[in-house]
Symmetry: C2
Amino acid sequence: MYSGGYTGKVLRINLTHKTTRAEPLPEELARNFIGGAGFGIKYLFDEVKPGTDPLGSDNILVFAAGPFTGAGIPCASRMSVTAKSPLTGAVGVALSGGEFPTELKFAGWDVIIVEGKADKPTYVSILGQDVKFHDARHTWGTLTFDCQQLVKNELRDQNVRVCCIGPAGEHLSKMACLVNERRAVGRKGLGAVMGSKNLKALAVRGTDTVAIDSAQKYKVGRSELLQAFKASPVLYPEFSHHGTPMVTDLAGALGVLPAKNWTATGAFVPVEGIGRDAQATRIVGREHCHDCPVGCSQLKVAQTGEYAGILTEGPDFETVYSLGSGVGVDRVDPIIAADRLCDELGLDTISAGVTISFAMELYEKGLFTRADTDGIDLRFGNDQAMLQVLRKIAYRDGVGDLLADGSRAAAKRIGEGTEKYAMHVKGLELPGYDVRALKGHGLGFATAYTGADHCRGYAFQEVFGVPVPWHVDRLSTDGKGKLTIWNQDVRTATLDCAPMCAFLLDMAVPATACQNTATLMEAVTGLSFTPEQVLQVGERVNNLAKAFNVREGLTRADDTLPERLLTEPLPAGASKGNVLSRADLNKMLDEYYALRGWDVRTGVPTRQKLTDLGLAYVADQLGV
Amino acid sequence: MYSGGYTGKVLRINLTHKTTRAEPLPEELARNFIGGAGFGIKYLFDEVKPGTDPLGSDNILVFAAGPFTGAGIPCASRMSVTAKSPLTGAVGVALSGGEFPTELKFAGWDVIIVEGKADKPTYVSILGQDVKFHDARHTWGTLTFDCQQLVKNELRDQNVRVCCIGPAGEHLSKMACLVNERRAVGRKGLGAVMGSKNLKALAVRGTDTVAIDSAQKYKVGRSELLQAFKASPVLYPEFSHHGTPMVTDLAGALGVLPAKNWTATGAFVPVEGIGRDAQATRIVGREHCHDCPVGCSQLKVAQTGEYAGILTEGPDFETVYSLGSGVGVDRVDPIIAADRLCDELGLDTISAGVTISFAMELYEKGLFTRADTDGIDLRFGNDQAMLQVLRKIAYRDGVGDLLADGSRAAAKRIGEGTEKYAMHVKGLELPGYDVRALKGHGLGFATAYTGADHCRGYAFQEVFGVPVPWHVDRLSTDGKGKLTIWNQDVRTATLDCAPMCAFLLDMAVPATACQNTATLMEAVTGLSFTPEQVLQVGERVNNLAKAFNVREGLTRADDTLPERLLTEPLPAGASKGNVLSRADLNKMLDEYYALRGWDVRTGVPTRQKLTDLGLAYVADQLGV
């Protein structure tokens, strides 16, 4: 049995019946799924029946920390939130750092499972073992930062940590996120799930500590990690100063920074106007997640015109893309303003930005007129229009209602062949890497169980040129099946399940992440792990998540990319002329399925594979 | 010597030399000035030489709590901030509640005196006896709520309390205020004084308790106060639910709610659109100052259109006037939005609103064109224009620069006989009571040492009809000299010096405030006081403040009212036709000066009076 790391307790909150129950965390769960998204997906598969309405009371919302969270391991103040996604209908997983995850552990819980639906707006306080339901009708309608403050004041404790939704979640926008402090649990519309349950916020506070099994091994494992941090040529010298926006210039140089709804990748110049150094001129400080020595999170204040004085944490690279180049906005300050607005509204910046860029393309093509946009001049580069529409989306006002459920749903409603302009996979809008010149990324976006997701198997090898586990050619499709599986499994095990910060892997321990995790698992929890066993947890979770999607009816046809990327060559820049054809994709998919041990024709996991992973019961359910 | 209440320590912070010094709090100061504004004005008179530039390094900024602050006395979590006002050139005093004042006492300090000017943006942390200067260049430009959060995060303590300035203070707008939590230390441009010193914020945190001299007497005195609270027909049943906006309807009914820069008092209908019940539809919660059982501070969230989701604490009645009826805005939500914006910018709502209404009148009269307003359609009732100009004021952008120093300065710059549209006394913009039908208020605004100030002698008898200390006729000038002196001295002693909350006096203990204060002074501090001695402290402070102004060159001619109020009858409503003529004002002034024991011709305190009050040294300085 584990003797450290885990609190050993799962809190089940039923909003329908206003009941709470503490359950033990089974050792088998810990051993086979480690924590975080592993736990979330296991509960989701086991408890949410096929065909469940994501916004109905039968969906569940699972908050899960991991064994390292709160244990003093750097970069491990992370948690996953898991539900069936209303945006994709598939597994919805998103992660977040900050202080909330650690506080959850200090309160004595590894996992919180939220079930049912409250009859009126509610928030739940979890002060250690003291769990209470609070009427939240008065907080309904508040922006996320105000809401957090209100809850802290009501609980008379400024050290309570609050994770909440904003107006976007209340109005069930399928692009709504959760926000704790200034951090989003973004993507996949998990904020709408929370909103559909009438749950405005969770508030946690605790005073427990996290036990460590072996102080001696812990010291060694932690020290190895910190040494790797110091040895990284990027992590402290560059990343802790600039955070993810440092990627902007690189993406520009490679010609893979998407612009104007992916019609102008490579043609958005100068990238420098929104890139690393332009962002740096706005930095006023940084924030560290609990126990993080890096502090990649930049606080920035806009300086010009009507945006002067607006502060945000971020914008991260993805937001620089989605609310910058993607919508044709070429200045830093409106991006800062839009990022802040999204955080306050509780709106995922990527999906919201890409959905607006979709509408902008329609507008420029004449498929959308001012009559459709409530009179807004929705051309690319109109930052004020972007801000107006972001608000409208969160409140489902006019054109905002049309766009509130993401680009796929909007295209369906608009019709007239607009689906081809909707840049999504499985309903999830694309992150900021043009896969026509990053082909492993293409396969990753096509196969990730959450849809087009930069956090579910990011091919850092293609972007940074890191030859781990081997050298790759970003323009080639060769070996990308194998690469994607490695990326998905390593990242799932170490970043989603442990869970630890993605940047740790990209910049500090790319080759040894499973070894580090195994060492720390043994040190912290007392459960022995080999690196291979850690990697297998990643494989297990990817298989289980895939099985969930298969059970929901998703097929090989859903493992695809937007038509534009399969047919139109990159228009300009360093990667001009590249394309990722349907044949390319099919070739990569075949390799991927075969190496996964899945049926190549259907993309469905085989009984053999599932049984090897201890998931025979899943094979039964899939009827394979 | 006092043995409770006071910490006995004054912290002197010199920003020029980056030095700090702890000084004892003399018993004589406590006995003669009690605390709060009494202390502030004494330090100001003694340490700031005549002719000092209010925005120069020789001005001082005095933060002073009182003996009851943090001692568990209800409604006493108050502090005053005092400096020479850049807006008026006279004594600048403003008070605020919340948690900061109590925290200051818990940190071990009665008073903080800030001197000099930092060479670069700075904030100062006062964690008990540990006082540190911090580089604040990175926080320069931040909005007040963001700034507070940044400082808390940097000090790694969410329970630190922060009082700071926003962009308005940084840009030296003479209408800038200080903000702690959601509360303003408003009026008189004290935020500009802080900005001129390059002081972005003070952060305090303490763990001391406040000693009580006699537990037995304390129990009795506190209980008397709480009994009076319960006995009030207004305090709990009405005021704790609606706060100051309940006054809106009453002012409307009396025909004294000023509208459209005082051109339309009585003609602004329906008042209900912005009044008590309209406000109540937006309430989502309330905030209590430390140890306050009333909680008059309403949290409201706007619901409509582009304002939906915006939360503010308030707006208080004065803001409902200044950013509502005063500028012709007849809906609640834009007032909420403007209130929030002012809090974030660190801008006094009254002065800013009245200055904008002044500009609106010029615009409507054709004295101001779109060329003057940066193209903004600055007509009465244009809420978007109001919001735009508020921002411009804080950043001194275009027309905002013209208006940033208040209506008097703006009129001076614009010229062309515009001074008569500037609704101020001594440079301080008028609060929301039309004195043409509240004549005691007129005398109060004319004689208050800070300029037109509803907090320096508010004639609640005229508004609420409370016959304390005697019945008055609001339309008559008879006896208003005596009434004003009583109001000024009682309020100064109990509300400004103790300091305690104004609403306590208006609604709970109007007749016994000095008695209550005397009882509590003895119980808490061990210093014996009679009610008459308490009242005399009020008289002493009013004389000393007046002497400061005289020393700065102010004369009887400055104790006046805007020309409009002296010449134009009230245009409409229940008080239609009333006027407060120059003769009326002079009659009241004569009575006032005579009863004050001041020279009736000049309005200057006599040597006799000053000597009686123990202020012979002041008479020496004035040469009387």
